[in-house]
């Protein structure tokens, strides 16, 4: 599995990007991360939940209780406008970062 520090640093980015398409509930986000990383990145509920709270506190997410007949109500999270802007900024920063690192790391062999 990946280094713990790497995981910690990127979890916010991951969560935000997964909410870009549509709102999701907490457990679903964790399952999606696991599925899309083919099991290489796993987040327990206990690790993911505080991240959601933190992001919500910074107004990057907003949570909402949704009730459906016959089941417990669930809390769905969605990106806020600020959250979208932040995600875009993070994404370009990440791309630039990866590019730069690659450039330095690979250029030695060039």
């Amino acid at each position: 599995m990946f280094n713990r520090e790497l995981k910690k640093g990127s979890v916010e980015f991951l969560v935000l990007s997964l909410l870009e398409a549509r709102p999701r509930h907490g457990y679903e986000i964790g399952k999606l991360i696991e599925a899309r990383s083919k099991g290489r990145i796993q987040f327990r509920i206990g690790s993911l939940y505080p991240v959601l709270c933190r992001l919500e506190d910074r107004d990057l997410l907003s949570g909402r209780w949704v009730e459906k007949a016959g089941r417990r109500r669930r809390r769905y999270y969605r990106l806020t406008v600020a959250g979208r802007r932040f995600l875009a900024a993070q994404r370009s920063a990440w791309d630039e970062f990866v590019l730069t690192i690659n450039h330095i790391a690979r250029s030695e062999n060039a």
Binding site: G26, Y27, R44, I45, Y49, P50, E56, R74
Partner: protein, 927 residues
Amino acid sequence: MPDWAKFVRQNLRLSHLRPEREAEIVEDLAEQLDEAYAEALQRGLSSQQAEAVAMQHVVDWEALAIELGRSERGRETVMATLLHQAEDRDVAKRGRFSLLTDFCQDVHYALRVMRKSPGFTLIIILTLALGIGANTSIFSIVNAVLLRSLPYYDASRLVKITFNNPGIGLRDVPYSVPELEDLKSRAGVFEEVSVVVSGSTNLTGARQQPERLELLEVSPNYFSMLGASPQIGRLFGSQDFALGFAEAAVISDGLWRRSYGGDPNILGKRLKLDGDPVTIVGVLPARFRHPGKTVARDVEVWVTAGFSADPYPKPARNVKVAREAIGRLKPGIDVTQAQARLTAMASELRTDFPNDYPPEAKWTIEIRPLQDALVGNVRPQLLVLMAAVVLVVLIASVNIANLLLARASGRQREMALRMALGAGRFRVVRQMLTESLVLSFIAGVAGVLTAKLTLSFIIHFLPASVPRLAEVGVDRTVLLFALLISIFTGIIFGLAPAFQTMKADMTAAIREGTQGSGSSAKTFRLRSLLIVSELALAVVLMVGAGLLLRTFWGLLQENPGFNPSRVVTASFWLPNPNDPKTDVYANFAERTSFIRDVIRRVATIPGIDRAAMTSDLPGARPAITAALVIEDRATDSSQGLTAEVIRVSPDYFMLMQCPLIRGRFFLESDESGKQEVAIIDETTARRYWSGVDPVGRRLRLDRNTGSQRGNLSLPWVIVVGIVKDMKQDGLDTDGVPHIFRPIYQEAGRAMSVVARTPLPASLLESQIRSEIQSVDPTLPVFNIRSMNDVMDVSIAPRRFSAELVGVFAAVAMLLSSIGIYGLLAYMVGQRSREIGIRVALGAQRSDILTLILGKGLLLVGAGIAIGLVLASAAAPFIATLLYGVHPFDVTVFVTVPLVLMLVAFLATYIPARRATMVDPIIALHES
């Protein structure tokens, strides 16, 4: 199916979270764990295995709790915002009818806010509770004494009747039985009239020691006129009508319990009052009080008489029997109409009976509403107290407003967010006002409870001369007042932060939070305004207190004209039985011999240097006033010549250390049968014999009373001496002329023995009593106390007002100083960055000090200036309470600003000094 919510709750220890937020977290986590469990079940695991899989999702509950706690602090403002936003949307959906529900929500929210900062809330509630409590206490006194109508049937129609001879300067002159009949039948304005004679009586036979009781002689209709009902038995009625005294007596609840242990078989028991047997026919309820002055305390026994037979002389128009009367006006007649009719009737009587009404006297009848007569003289004092305590609560409210403003700055972001998210500005303001009202309501309840508990304690300190104290209590009117004051203060201190919120710049608030310089400047201005008003009110209170205290201290320094220290007094009352044959003291010689015996015996008590007798102790109560006829002065120019007459024994002046100015003191030989003599005081000499030596001159004293000797021609009295003025009528009264007569030539029945001794009254009490009772064992001796105590009682009301207002002023000064300190500390905090820059650019510590101090002292100066203007406007209103002090007393008006300046300077200096300690580097980094 495992209970995941219970599981989460058991493991996740959250603290410092609001209950709703905690519930939300628990539910969310439980739901997610449930999903994990369900998923595991779906994969084919057993229930136990699925549970274990789910539980694996949270390993370190403690770390989770810490993480969640950290993120919660920032979340709260936003949550509150969103919550209210949801509520606002609900309101919009439901429509306007839910004003009450809105209010309930606001109250609910207010309580939540209060719970978040318990220390802050407690300070506010305590401060306010004290202020409201004090107001409630004083108001309950004002309400019971001044506002509530007297506790009698249809009390507004009850009046006090007095007879005056304004032509010769006499008021409250006695009246006769025929004059009483005129009131009843000829005047046509009264439904009922009752005689009232207050005095003492000696109760013998009931207990071992003879006891002095407060007695009231009344007409048989007295109780029916007041609408009183008995607790046991009956009250006076037509069957008790008698020319002289009836056998029936009515006693007070106090006497019944004290002397008879509340014996239910009290009716029919006999008492001996001044040797006369009476039968108890009824007991009054505990709350009943006679609506008038008494000798020493509440009336304990009532008897009824026709005042037309022994011991009263045969009725005649010029034979006077009593001084006081009360009456009930006929329905439909008001006081003004009745007064007009009585004035006309008096004029008719003066014409009809010219021999009985010398024209120069201008005899007249005056009526006054009974309540007014009873409480009129304490009204100014009570009103001043009420005004003072209202000022205190105003100052406290302003202080609280300042505190709330300071806190409101911290909540600006919350308020701005709410407004941005759709809550109307008005809604937010309403919320803030509701918060203030909830605070003040809670404080009000606490205040009322405090008042209820401390009221009896406070009443204990009130001077006994305040009437109707027994009626003081917390009733519906007082509760209403407390409610109004709570609402009033809540609005006052709620307006400031609400006003500020209304004008707040929303965008700036959201962006800058609490550091926004724009809004903080506005806040500072508003708070400064509040501080200035607080200071101004404090100045008014302090000036008032200063004037009252100066008056009081002045009185304490006042030379009473004699030396009251180391003098012990004891009073007694010679019995006046109805049957003259049983009157031991009817014979003047008996009385004189009794007096001589008592003086001699008291003087022999070890520790007593000297003893004397007087009819009226200085400062105790006013003596009888007589009209003077001065020889060699034309009769019409004798009009308005009056003096108080006091009878004393020969050693009296020497004992009291009252200096002789001219002539001589009384001698033992100045007795009955010899030349009638008198000693006058300086005021009398100055007023009636100006430019002439009064010693050797003659005068006549007319006391307008029916003499039992039936003597109509008054003897000439020679002035033999002049003494220095004594404060006979109290430390705050002067300019009243006094004439002294030898007690061996003229003696009444009420007397006090005075003794010069270094010993305290408590030590001598039993000895004095036994010496007096060795002369007459049936004589009760009462009020054995030091002369200083007697004088103190005369100024007790002033002492009380001055001290209480002084306490209020000190509280006001303290509150204002705290207010200034708070404001300047806030300012220094806000401007620490600016100060840091200044210092970095080269400003000295002293420059910073001057900057802050300057700001502070400017505020103080403004407050004091406005306060002095207000105080000047208010000072004339308390002029009636001042003695020897001008309402614009320079000392007070200069001292108060100086003291306040000094205290405020200290309050300003502390934050100013702290400002100089600002480290520029730290200050600049914090942005």
